[in-house]
């Protein structure tokens, strides 16, 4: 199986590559449109700032490429946010695969720390990405912006309010959390994605 990881100006891309290697998969890190189009799976990972990332994707034509992919695609963290319509981070139009607005957490009290950082549990995980999952399994999050619950939500998490921990539409899957940093639970999600 050919797995391509989208190469762009986001941080923490190597952690997903290491996670795939631990599963015996040797992914290719690329920004080449042809390689991305012909891969069996595409992972769009990363950590970073939305407007800078979108700027880079547009300059390299990757926005069109990602939108037009037809094989299973998995966006992770900033990858999920960039797959939405618009992000409040840098007030930027994004890829629009999910017609949703990415917004910032608003703390209610000083006990609500932002970023939302650490292990939190998945509620009502559904669909093939979460095959074999039950309520309450923990995954690792690091983010200050989130996608509200919507028609594409396939798992929710509660922090300040319930938000979308994962999204799915057609061949596009996305997680706000980092499966590559979520121990054995995360490895199961990556395995489910690779065996869709």
């Amino acid at each position: 199986m050919k797995v391509a990881v989208v190469k762009y100006n986001a941080g923490n891309i190597y952690s997903v590559i290491h996670a795939l290697q631990r599963m015996g998969v040797e992914p290719v890190l690329t920004d080449d449109a042809d390689v991305l189009r012909h891969a069996d799976r595409v992972i769009f990972p990363g950590q970073g700032e939305a407007s800078n990332a979108m700027c880079y994707l547009r300059e390299h034509g990757l926005d069109q490429v990602i939108r037009s992919l037809t094989q299973p695609v998995l966006g992770i963290c900033i990858g999920q946010q960039l797959m939405c319509r618009h992000s409040a981070e840098g007030n930027v139009d994004c890829l629009g695969i999910f017609d949703e607005e990415v917004v910032r957490f608003v703390p209610r009290t000083h006990a609500d720390k932002v970023p939302h950082m650490g292990w939190n549990d998945l509620q009502q995980p559904s669909g093939p990405l979460f095959k074999g999952f039950k309520d309450g399994e923990f995954v690792y999050f690091v983010h200050s912006f989130y996608v509200p619950r919507c028609q594409w939500t396939i798992a929710a998490t509660d922090y300040i309010l319930p938000f979308s921990a994962a999204l799915h539409r057609d061949n596009f899957y996305a997680t706000q959390f980092h499966p590559e940093k979520s121990g054995p639970v995360g490895a199961r999600i990556l395995h489910n994605f690779l065996t869709l």
Partner: protein
């Protein structure tokens, strides 16, 4: 609900784990990659690796260790020690660290926090603070606790937060290595002073101490070294205990 985190800390010298008592008397406690993997399997939520080597050669050894940890571990980890400038941060993040922690360098050049936050994002920037209660109140210390800065703990934590730190790792030097519990009052005040997570460090001796750091200290995470390294407290048993005490942990 967000879980409280348990974080073993591994002090690394020349590629080996060591842990001091009150910052001196180093004792050997194993190979960092193997130990990290063992902690991960026992249920540690994150790991911290602190490079206490000063030499250039030692720093290369540490960077090499970071890349081995990144390849083998599937939980997040922070690295610290010997970070003076943005290039050090870049080197360690490129090697695969999820976060870096800065201490003395941030006190000397607070703008380093702004630089790290703007280049790599707040989430990678942990500001570690060593402080002790003296006549002037809680005061920050430099260089592993040898030099007083005269800076107030809460003021400095607030400044670090405003400059873009993603987390505060607070070590009470009065409590560190004594195993009499964390500095819960200071922790609680610190938690109210900043809008980012606070990691409690220094003083873990029993499971109750961890509970108190979370309940009275309002800490988001608790870090310890020797109680884990020498098997005095098992991570699995600790998390089971905390859950029984109605503290949300990842089991």
């Amino acid at each position: 609900m967000l879980a409280k985190r348990i974080i073993p800390c591994l002090d690394i010298k020349d590629g080996q784990t060591v842990k001091g008592t009150n910052f001196v008397n180093l004792r050997q406690a194993g190979d960092p990659v193997a130990l990290g993997r063992a902690y991960s399997e026992q249920g540690a939520d994150e790991l911290v690796f602190l490079d206490i080597t000063a030499s250039h050669e030692g720093r290369k050894t540490f960077t090499h260790m970071v890349s081995k940890v990144a390849a083998q571990l599937s939980i997040p980890f922070t690295v610290g020690g010997g970070i003076h400038e943005l290039a050090d941060v870049e080197r360690l993040l490129s090697a695969g660290a999820d976060k870096i922690s800065i201490n003395s360098a941030a006190l000397r050049h607070p703008s380093l926090i702004d630089e790290i936050a703007s280049h790599f994002g707040s989430q990678v920037c942990v500001v570690a603070i060593d402080a002790r209660l003296d006549a002037a109140g809680w005061t920050c210390y430099l260089n592993g606790g040898r030099i007083s800065t005269g800076k107030n703990l809460f003021d400095w934590a607030r400044e670090a937060y405003e400059r873009g730190a993603g987390e505060i790792l607070f070590t009470s030097m009065d409590h560190d290595g004594v195993k009499n519990g964390f500095a819960c009052e200071a922790l609680a005040r610190l938690s109210e002073s900043v809008g980012i997570p606070v990691i409690a460090s220094g003083g873990a001796g029993s499971m109750e101490h961890f509970r108190d750091a979370f309940t009275f200290g309002h800490a988001d995470a608790a870090l310890a070294a020797s109680v884990f390294h020498f098997g005095e407290i098992g991570i699995g048993a600790l998390k089971q205990y905390l859950q029984n005490e109605n503290i949300n942990v990842r089991l």
